[in-house]
Every structure is written in structure tokens, then in C-alpha cells.
């Protein structure tokens, strides 16, 4: 953590020494690669940056506006099941496949979203779980039913820790600096992520920046996963052979005669 703090200070020092004229917002992540290794237990990634002070004298040099951070995982098709009670047992009785769903979605803001901007503005920028559109084919479900499935999907993703709405989690430090943290749990999907930082002024997006982020399995975990999916036959054979050898070794080591 100390190293991360130093990095934070160092990068900001560089960021602040250059004039912020071209853009009023600059941000970066403490890590651009979330590596899933053997000991992976989830990780916090620090997002930090600076906003230009308002040139408007009426604002009194205060940091002008609100900050919203959205981290999105790669889109994927997602099947959702709905249970109902059949003869006393709860079983899946209906299912629906959403074609494009962000596999991960986290949003953090310096103030409650509804105070920052109108919901139409938020929706246009895909900010907030309420404004996530899953491209559900209209033919499959419509109206209230569609909304019910949409909410069901969001709740299911939230229980997995993959959809997070942490309001008030963008911290302003002094007049220009801000920081936020995004937590990637152990079940985080792999792929290319996007961290979007929005600066809102007067309820409108004044400036925005997109920072790419990659989540991938590395080392042994990655090789095993690729092996299991790419060469399933060889993987299966090795699994069987390893088990045969382990059983034989167990017999040799512990035989009682």
C-alpha cells in the first residue's frame, strides 16, 4: 500500500507540473493489469486524477463540478433463470438470454447520482445501474415483464459482487485532486475493461476520459484454463493419468505390509 501511495504522489506530481489547459480532467489507474494468479483473493485498483480549477471567479476557485467513475467489463451473453415452486421444490422454470450484458459494472460518484444530473443525461452516458440497457429483444419480453427480468439480472450480478454502485466513493482531496477505488472480486470475469471518468458541470458532462484496463489470468492459472479449453482432450487425459499416478503413489507410500 505504501508503494501504491508513493506512486500516487509521484504520478500526480508529474500531472500537476504540466499545465492542464488542453483538458480540464486527467486521471489514471494505479494498475492497468489485474493479474489473476494462484494466490488471487481480489484486488483494489486505485483511480486517481485531477480536475482544473474553475476559471469562473464566481465559483471561488472551488473544484467545479462532480465526478463520476464507471468501470465496465467486456460485454457477453448472459442467461438468466427464474425459479418457481413446483410441488414444494424450487426449480428453474423459465430462462432468458440477454445478448449483450456488461460482465462487470461498477459506478462511483462524489455525490448521489440523482443530484449530479437528470436521469436522461445519466442514461445517455450509461451511468448508474438504473440506466443499464441490456438490449433485450423486444419480441421476447415487453413492458413490466421486461423490467422484472432486467432488475432480476442486476440483483443476481450484485449478489456475485460484479455489479456495484458505491455512491460517495469518489473522494476529493483539496481543490483539484480526486481518488476512488474499484474492487475486483475473485470471480471477476477476464477481458478488456474500461474505466470512464466523467466531470459533470451544471448537470452536463463537461469532460470525460476513458482508461483501458485488462483483467487476465496469468501464470499457471492462465495456462491451465487455456489448456482445459483449448486442448480439452489432452487435459482430460492428463487429469486421468495424474489421478492414476496419485492413487498408485498413495498405495506405495501407505501400504501396510
Amino acid at each position: 500500500m505504501a508503494a501504491r501511495g508513493l506512486l500516487f504522489v509521484a504520478v500526480l506530481a508529474v500531472a500537476l507540473s504540466t499545465p492542464l489547459r488542453a483538458q480540464s480532467l486527467i486521471a489514471d489507474l494505479s494498475e492497468h493489469l489485474v493479474a489473476i494468479t494462484t494466490g488471487f483473493v481480489g484486488v483494489d485498483v486505485l483511480l486517481f486524477g485531477a480536475v482544473e480549477r474553475s476559471a469562473d471567479p464566481e465559483a471561488g476557485g472551488q473544484p467545479s463540478g462532480d465526478l463520476v467513475v464507471v468501470v465496465r467489463g467486456p460485454e457477453q451473453a448472459q442467461t438468466l433463470h427464474r425459479k418457481s415452486n413446483v410441488a414444494g421444490i424450487w426449480m428453474n422454470t423459465a430462462s432468458l438470454t440477454f445478448e449483450q450484458v456488461p460482465s462487470f459494472y461498477a459506478v462511483a460518484a462524489s455525490r448521489p447520482l440523482e443530484e449530479i444530473a437528470e436521469s436522461t443525461v445519466l442514461a445517455a452516458n450509461g451511468i448508474g445501474l438504473d440506466h443499464l440497457d441490456f438490449h433485450l429483444p423486444a419480441a421476447k419480453a415487453s413492458g413490466p415483464l421486461r423490467e422484472e427480468w432486467r432488475q432480476g439480472l442486476i440483483r443476481a450480478k450484485q449478489r456475485e459482487g460484479l455489479y456495484v454502485e458505491a455512491l460517495g466513493q469518489v473522494t476529493l482531496i483539496g481543490e483539484t485532486l480526486f481518488r476512488s477505488q474499484v474492487y475486483f472480486p475473485t470471480n471477476v470475469p477476464t477481458g478488456v475493461y474500461q474505466a470512464q471518468v466523467f466531470l459533470f458541470q451544471g448537470g452536463q458532462v463537461a469532460s470525460a476520459q476513458v482508461i483501458p484496463l485488462s483483467v487476465s489470468k496469468v501464470g499457471l492459472e492462465a495456462e491451465l484454463f487455456d489448456f482445459a479449453h483449448g486442448q480439452a482432450g489432452a487435459y482430460g487425459l492428463i487429469a486421468v493419468i495424474l489421478a492414476l499416478v496419485a492413487g498408485w503413489l498413495g498405495h506405495l507410500i501407505f501400504r501396510r505390509d
Binding site: K83, S84, T186, H229, V240, G250
Partner: protein
């Protein structure tokens, strides 16, 4: 110490997994059962996805049966001929079972089928063990000897009769073939070796002598569970090698302690204890099926 399981895609504590392997191994050594039927539900309880638990458990069964069968081969307690016939049925059954598994997984019903099969099977076996242990206890107190049972020839008219010199049997090959098939299907769907079903069937239905039953069932289980492991790996990619190795490691050690401990406990009390344990696990699975879920919506495999 947490370890990330690459196929299950979750992190679990290494010592929890080693301990679980050890516990099941201990029980396996203690009760003389494979333990697969307890391992799969316990893996599901600690958060491993059911489809990964079943496939990985099949891999674990390969290791534990090899360990067991080598000892039986040494004592010449394996009827290879009978084992091969059972195996032929088992191969067919497990192949059908894995295909069924894939279909059910696509339909989102695999978790339900796994849970229901376990509730049913654990319920039946738990009650039987409990009753048998209890009856034997009563019998011992009254000093009455158990009635001896021998296989009956109700399938004597079936075609394809075969001689099994080691088991001193002359029966239709279709009988062990269909037993092997049925247990093979269960093996694929539940991730168990199936010894705990096969052994009583071999004694009461086929009429095999008890001395060769366990060795022969272990012999065929190795091949059937190897087939299940391979097919699960190729069709569903659900075999987690890291998880399997940890369970095997714990299991091999646990089994040795279990075997030694078993010698000090009377068999009937053991049966009652195992029966109770099985009923508890089955009861928990049933409880989960009938309690209203946290949310009626849940994510499926993508």
C-alpha cells in the same frame, strides 16, 4: 492461505480443501466406502459450482479407487471377467450420462437434478444403513445370527449366459451389463464412483461372493470414473485439476488414519454413524431445495 481454482473460478482456502479431502478420506477408510457421495455435496456447500464439483470429484474417485484396488489385487480378490462385463455397461452408461449432463446444464436444470439425485440416494442409503446397523445391534444383544442371503436366479431365463468362475456364477451377461449401465449414468451425473450402490447390487442381485465384491467394484469404478473425467473435460470443461490434486492429497492421508481408526470401533455403531451423517447431508440438500430462494432470478452458464 487462499488458492485460486482456475476452472471453478473462485478462491478457496488450501487448508480447507486439504482438510475436506482428508475428512472424506478418513470416512472412506473408516467406513470402507469411496466417499464421493459425501464429497460432492460438501464441495457444493463451500461454494464450488455443482457442475465443477461433480466433474472434479470423478477425477478424485479415479485416484482413490486405484489406491484401493491394488490392495485387493494383491489378495486376489478381483473378478476381472465380471469387472470387464460391468465395465462395458459402465462405459456406455457414463457416456450417456455425460451427454445428459451437458443437455441439462444447457437447460439450467443440472443443479436441480444433482441435488434431487443426492437427496433421493442419500435418503435411501442413510435410512438403510441406519436400520441395518440398528437391527444388527439388537440382534447382537439377543444373540441371534443373521440370516444368510445368496443371490436368486430370477434372471435365469435371460439369454447370453456367461460363466464367471471366480464368482462361481453362470448368469446372463445382460444382468451385470445393465447394472453397470445404470451405475455409469449415476456416476456421470453425481460424480460418484457408485461403489455404495454397486456393492449391495452385486451381492443381492448378482449373488457374487462378498470377498470379491469390493475389489471387483473398485476395478470397474477406476475405468468408469476415468471415462467420466475425460468426457467431462472434453465436453463441459468442468474438471478442475488444482482442486482435484488438493482433494487427492488430503484424501490419501486421511484414508490411512480412517482405516486404522476403524479397527477400534464396532461395525454396527459405524453403520449407524455413517447412516446419520448421510441423512444430515441429504437433509441439508433437501432443505435448500424447499426453502424459498434468496431471489427467484439466478445467473446461468454463459
Amino acid at each position: 492461505m487462499q488458492i485460486y481454482l482456475p476452472i471453478a473460478e473462485i478462491s478457496l482456502n488450501v487448508f480447507l480443501l486439504l482438510g475436506l479431502g482428508g475428512l472424506i478420506g478418513f470416512l472412506a477408510g473408516l467406513f470402507g466406502v469411496g466417499g464421493g457421495f459425501l464429497m460432492t455435496p460438501l464441495l457444493i456447500f463451500i461454494g464450488v459450482p455443482p457442475s465443477v464439483a461433480v466433474a472434479t470429484q470423478a477425477n478424485h474417485v479415479v485416484a482413490s479407487s486405484v489406491s484401493g484396488v491394488l490392495a485387493h489385487f494383491k489378495r486376489d480378490n478381483v473378478d476381472v471377467r465380471m469387472g470387464l462385463v460391468l465395465l462395458a455397461g459402465g462405459f456406455l452408461g457414463s457416456t450417456v450420462g455425460v451427454a445428459l449432463f451437458s443437455v441439462l446444464r444447457g437447460l439450467g436444470q443440472i443443479d436441480l437434478v444433482i441435488s434431487l439425485s443426492y437427496v433421493l440416494l442419500l435418503g435411501i442409503i442413510g435410512v438403510l444403513l441406519f436400520l441395518e446397523g440398528g437391527r444388527a445391534l439388537v440382534r447382537r444383544r439377543r444373540k441371534v445370527t443373521a440370516p444368510s442371503r445368496r443371490g436368486h436366479a430370477w434372471a435365469a431365463g435371460w439369454p447370453l449366459r456367461m460363466r464367471f468362475p471366480k464368482s462361481r456364477l453362470y448368469i446372463s451377461a445382460l444382468l451385470p451389463l445393465s447394472l453397470g449401465f445404470g451405475v455409469g449414468v449415476l456416476s456421470a451425473i453425481m460424480g460418484v464412483g457408485g461403489g455404495f450402490i454397486l456393492v449391495p447390487l452385486m451381492i443381492y442381485v448378482l449373488g457374487m461372493p462378498t470377498t470379491v465384491v469390493i475389489g471387483t467394484s473398485l476395478f470397474q469404478i477406476i475405468f468408469v470414473s476415468a471415462n467420466v473425467t475425460f468426457l467431462q473435460a472434453t465436453q463441459n470443461q468442468t474438471v478442475d485439476l488444482v482442486l482435484a490434486l488438493l482433494l487427492v492429497l488430503g484424501g490419501v492421508i486421511g484414508a490411512q488414519f480412517g482405516g486404522r481408526f476403524a479397527a477400534r470401533l464396532p461395525a454396527d455403531s459405524l453403520r449407524i454413524m455413517l447412516g446419520l451423517l448421510i441423512l444430515c447431508v441429504g437433509g441439508k440438500l433437501l432443505f435448500d431445495l424447499v426453502t424459498p430462494p434468496v431471489d427467484i432470478y439466478s445467473l446461468g452458464v454463459s
